[in-house]
Every structure is written in C-alpha cells, then in structure tokens.
C-alpha cells in the first residue's frame, strides 16, 4: 500500500512538472498568440489584448499567476473562443468524450473478455480459429482505418446509421464500434493468453482433482487469475483509447475534448492546449491508480 500512496502523492508533482514544461516551451515560441489574426487594428487594441491576457507581465510573474490559478482549478481563458474559459469548454466537451469513452470501453471488455474466454477453452476449433482471425484483423486495423471504412459500408453504402455528429443512440453506434472493436480485439487476445496459461497451472489441476465441476473450476479458479493481464493492460489501453478518441471525434465530427484538442494545435490556442494536456494527464494518472488498486485486489501478491 505504501508504494500506492507514494504514487498518489506523485500526481500533483507530475502535473506541476507538466504544467511548467508546457508553459515555458510554449512561451519560448516566437510570436505572440495574436499574430495569426489579421493585423491588430491599432497599437492600443493590441496593448489592450496583451493586458487582458496578462501577456505584458514579466514571464516569471505570468508563470506564477498560471500556477496560482491552476491550484484553484482555473485553467484560464481560451484564446480562440473569446468569452469562453478553458474550464467552460471542458465542461461542455468532457461529458461527450466521457460517454464515448465509456461506451467504447464497455464494448472492449464486454466483447473482448467473452471472446477470449471461449476461444481459450477451445471447445470448438472452428470458433477458436474464427475468433483468432477476427482478433488478428482487429489488432491490425487501426482506428483511423476502421472508422472511415465503417462509414463507407454502414453509413454511405447501406445507410443504416448517420454519417456523423453526436446525440441519440443511432449516432453513437459507429463511433463506439470504431473505438471499441480495436480494443476488444486486444482484450480478447490478452484474455486468451491469460486463460491458456492459467489452465495449465497446478492449482487448476488440484481443483479438478478435488472433483470440482468444470464450470466451477473456470469461474472460481481460472477466471480471476486470467483477468490479471487484462486488468494490467487496462492502463495503457486507456491511454490508447484517449488517442483513438481524437481520431474518432475527428472522423465523426463529434464535439468532444479530442476535437477541441486537435483544433487547438491549428489555432495555436495555447491555454486550451495546455489545459487539455493537464486534464488528460490527470485523468490518465487517476485511472491508472484505480487500475492499480483493482489489480492489487485481484492479486494480493502484487505490491506486497
């Protein structure tokens, strides 16, 4: 438990390091954030803009101001979406991305675990071969290939689902599948590996020797142990899920954080960019800590 607590204590340190690095790297870039707009109407307007965003202060002071606001949870104003703060934009976009992510995660686990279990049990060679082939294809077809292909077949060709946008379950189907199937394939492979390894271990033989039914052996003695690789893969998977959501939100024009994040690179909206980087770091750290707790609960040997 000690190392878990120390990891928890490291989260604010990590966020501080990320904030500092981003702040100075982005400030080191030549040109102000307003240069790309049409030439400022006048010197006064430019000065007023600089003053409004505290761009006229010494760098050290700006940094301290940013950290102070950050400590209070204020990520500052967006430069592109004037009149909106980064917090505002996060408040509007996070629920969308979160529901997309949660649905995709549910698909990944809900489809991946059963497929992995059944293909490992190998009762049916044909089903096992099919599952293996499908998961191999799933692993090799990245999100930015699968998304447009699904649109081509199911939205443009068959017209079963809308092409883009968000809201209502019909619009959610294709983005969820795009993001979820890729990870379902990976989860299935890990689950199958885990099962195959555990099925051969002595404690399973012992359980069988005691005359336990096959169902009980699998449910009580194999599954919990075989889940360990899947759960430990969950941490990196969530990071990849985040990456994938950038693409999926781009392909389906979903107004989530990923779409805003990618756009912030084109509009050089540095406060929004930084705010989202910090937000992603925080989310991933928290989720990886939760995964870690879960792992310790499943397998008490870890971390003791």
């Amino acid at each position: 438990m000690k190392s878990w607590a120390s990891r928890l204590a490291l989260v604010p340190v990590l966020l501080w390091a990320v904030a500092t690095l981003c702040f100075f790297l982005l400030r080191a870039l030549p040109g102000g954030p307003f240069d790309r707009e049409r030439p400022a109407a006048s010197r006064e307007v430019e000065a007023a803009l600089r003053a409004r965003y505290h761009w006229d202060e010494p760098l050290g002071r700006q940094y301290l101001r940013y950290l102070g606001n950050l400590a209070r949870g204020d990520l500052g104003p967006s430069l592109k979406y004037r009149n909106h703060s980064v917090n505002d934009l996060l408040g509007q976009t996070v629920p969308v991305s979160l529901s997309l992510g949660a649905l995709a995660f549910a698909v990944a686990m809900g489809l991946g675990i059963p497929v992995g279990v059944f293909s490992a049990l190998g009762r049916n060679r044909w089903a096992d071969a099919t599952a293996s082939l499908l998961t191999l294809v799933g692993v090799c077809v990245p999100v930015f290939v699968l998304g447009p292909l699904l649109v081509l077949v199911f939205a443009v060709g068959l017209e079963w689902f809308p092409v883009a946008l968000w809201g209502g379950w019909t619009r959610a189907v294709l983005p969820t599948l795009t993001l979820g199937l890729y990870f379902a394939a990976r989860v299935a492979r890990w689950m199958r590996e885990g099962m195959l390894e555990v099925l051969q271990s002595p404690h399973v033989q012992a359980a069988r020797a005691r005359g336990l039914g096959e169902g009980a052996v699998i449910l009580r003695h194999v599954l919990p142990v075989a889940l360990v690789p899947v759960v430990s893969y969950t941490g990196p998977m969530l990071a990849d899920l985040l990456t994938g959501s950038f693409v999926v939100e781009n392909v389906f024009q979903i107004p989530g954080t990923g779409a805003f994040f990618v756009n912030s690179f084109f509009s050089r909206d540095y406060p929004l960019m930084m705010g989202l980087v910090l937000f992603y770091c925080l989310v991933l750290q928290v989720l990886s800590l939760i995964t870690d707790l879960l792992l310790r609960w499943i397998d008490p040997r870890i971390g003791s």
């Binding site: 939205a155 443009v156 990456t243 781009n250 050089r268 960019m273």
Partner: protein, 307 residues
C-alpha cells in the same frame, strides 16, 4: 535440426523460418519495401503532378484511380508507403538507442540510479505519449520551421520528417528500456560478465564486447515490435494533419484524404480502400514478424503476446 554449429542465433533463425505466419509477414514486408523503394522509379509517374482526370476510378491508365487533383493514386500510395516505412524504421532506431542506453545504465548501475531511472519510465508511461508528439511537432512548426523555411525552403519537408522521427522515437522507448534493464539485471549475474567485471574490463568494452552481443536478440525483437507502433503514430499524426504536409503524402494523410471524400452522393471507394488496405496489411506483416521473432528468441514464452 541441431547441426554442428548451433549458436543461439542460428537456432532462433531456424525457429523463425518454421513459423509460417512470420515468414509470410516477412515476404509481405520485403515486397512492400521494394515497391516503396524502387516502385516509384519503375512507375515513372510524378506523385505530385496534377492531371486533367480528377477522381477517376481505377482503370488501365491509373491502376488505383486518381484523386481530387487528378494525381495518380498508385504513385501517391507508393511514395506514402516509403515515407511511412522510413519514419517507422528511423523512429524505431531512435527509440532503440534511447531505450538501450537507459535500460543498460539502469540495469548495470543498480541501486539508487536504477530506482530513479525506472521511476522516470513509470511516470512517462502514465502520460499520454501521443500528446507529447503533438506538442513536439507544434514546437517544431512554430519555433524552427519558420527559420529553416527562410534559409533552405527545399529542405523543410525533410526536416519535418526528421522532427517527426525524433519526436516519435523519443516517446516509444519505454518498453525497450524496461526489457533491456530486466535482461541486463539477469545477465550481469552470469559468470562470464562477473569475470569480465572482476578482470577490470573498462565499461565501454564491457558493454560492447560482453553485454551487447547477449542483448542483441532482445533488441532485435523489440525493435521489430516498435516499428509498427511508430508507423501507426506517424499515420495517426498525418491523418489529423499534424504530420506530413501536402503535397507530401504518407499512408495516414492518404487515408485522411480518402475519408474526407466520403459522402452519400458519390462513392469514391478507391481513395480510401487502397491506402487503408495497405496500411492494415503492413501492420499485420510487421506484427507477425515481431511475434515470430519473439517466439524464436524466447521459445519458453507463450507466443502471441505481441498485441
């Protein structure tokens, strides 16, 4: 199969050649590399030259059809494959150098150095790596590209590729560092390395002559496995428009072009299907070669964990 000269490398090679999926993957890779390397020369069509025939479906004149500017898609796919594979290979090499250096230092030094180095790896692992690449590319575009563009405008696309290779390589070394450290920890307890240490072999020679040859299998396996992930990241960046810029093409940007032409009124499937299919095929080939190498070098391990 154990002949008179059964070195570990030869045994691994024999195991690899018996793995049909891996050999098939290798064949696909060699063919793709040849096509990307000399294909554009043989084809003789300028991938950037706009033609009169825009959005033509595949036919005798243009085997994969043409894009919205009338450019030959086959020529663009070949040149895009070249860029994707080159970025993947060089990016993987960059990650190899960082990862091996980091892992060997951690494993050989041990103690507090090891603990700190590995803590950094843990910390980086829990950060969204691709976000760093996006930031790195932005820094390059906003900070350096302008200066280079004034002095050597022609070199800018090449410099952008180099920036991408470095960015991608510098975030993909974590697994390599972990594996190399673990292997170093095991190896340095072996008698021959203990003897080398006891004889006072200087560190560089200790590393080059005694440690590195015994790490080469692991390095080869994880180098192969990191190529597809770098290729994937490159295409991801180019898909979003943060990687290669037009008129340059990579498989990712071609897929993005194809995806942007998707509409219910006129289906231009070839713009999407050819680059997307090739991307999937390449990833499958790279992954199966990686899995085959891993199984060949670590025979005790259950194979298939490459995903």
């Amino acid at each position: 199969m154990i002949g008179p000269s059964s070195s570990p490398g030869r045994l691994a090679l024999e195991r690899f050649l018996r793995d049909r999926m891996a050999v098939a993957g290798l064949v696909v890779l060699v063919l793709a590399a040849l096509a990307a390397g000399i294909g554009p020369l043989l084809l003789g069509i300028d991938p950037d030259r706009a033609g009169d025939l825009a959005l033509a479906p595949p036919g005798a004149a243009h085997w994969m059809g043409t894009d919205i500017h009338g450019r030959d898609l086959l020529a663009r796919v070949l040149i895009g494959t070249r860029i994707s594979l080159a970025v993947g290979a060089v990016g993987a090499l960059v990650s190899l150098m960082i990862g091996v250096a980091w892992g060997v230092v951690a494993g050989a030094a041990g103690g507090r150095t090891d603990a700190w180095l590995m803590r950094v790896v843990d910390g980086l692992q829990a950060l969204p790596t691709v976000v760093w690449v996006m930031l790195g590319m932005t820094l390059f575009e906003a900070g350096l590209a302008g200066r280079f563009a004034q002095r050597w405008p022609d070199a800018l696309p090449v410099l952008r590729l180099a920036a991408m290779m470095i960015c991608l390589g510098s975030v993909s070394w974590l697994t390599m560092a972990r594996v190399i450290r673990a292997q170093t920890l095991v190896l340095r307890q072996r008698p021959f390395l203990l003897a080398a240490t006891a004889l006072g072999v200087p560190p560089v020679r200790w590393f080059l002559r005694h440690l590195l040859p015994n790490l080469s299998g692991v390095i080869l396996v994880y180098l192969t496995l990191s190529v597809p992930s770098v290729v994937l990241y490159e295409s991801f960046l180019s898909f979003l428009g943060l990687g290669v810029r037009p008129p340059q093409a990579s498989l990712g940007s071609l897929i993005a072009d194809g995806a942007s032409q998707l509409n219910p009124i006129r289906v231009r499937w070839w713009l999407l299907v050819f680059p997307a299919g090739l991307m999937a095929l390449l990833l499958a080939a790279l992954n199966s070669v990686g899995a085959g190498l891993r199984a060949a070098f670590e025979p005790r391990r259950v194979d298939g964990l490459s995903a």
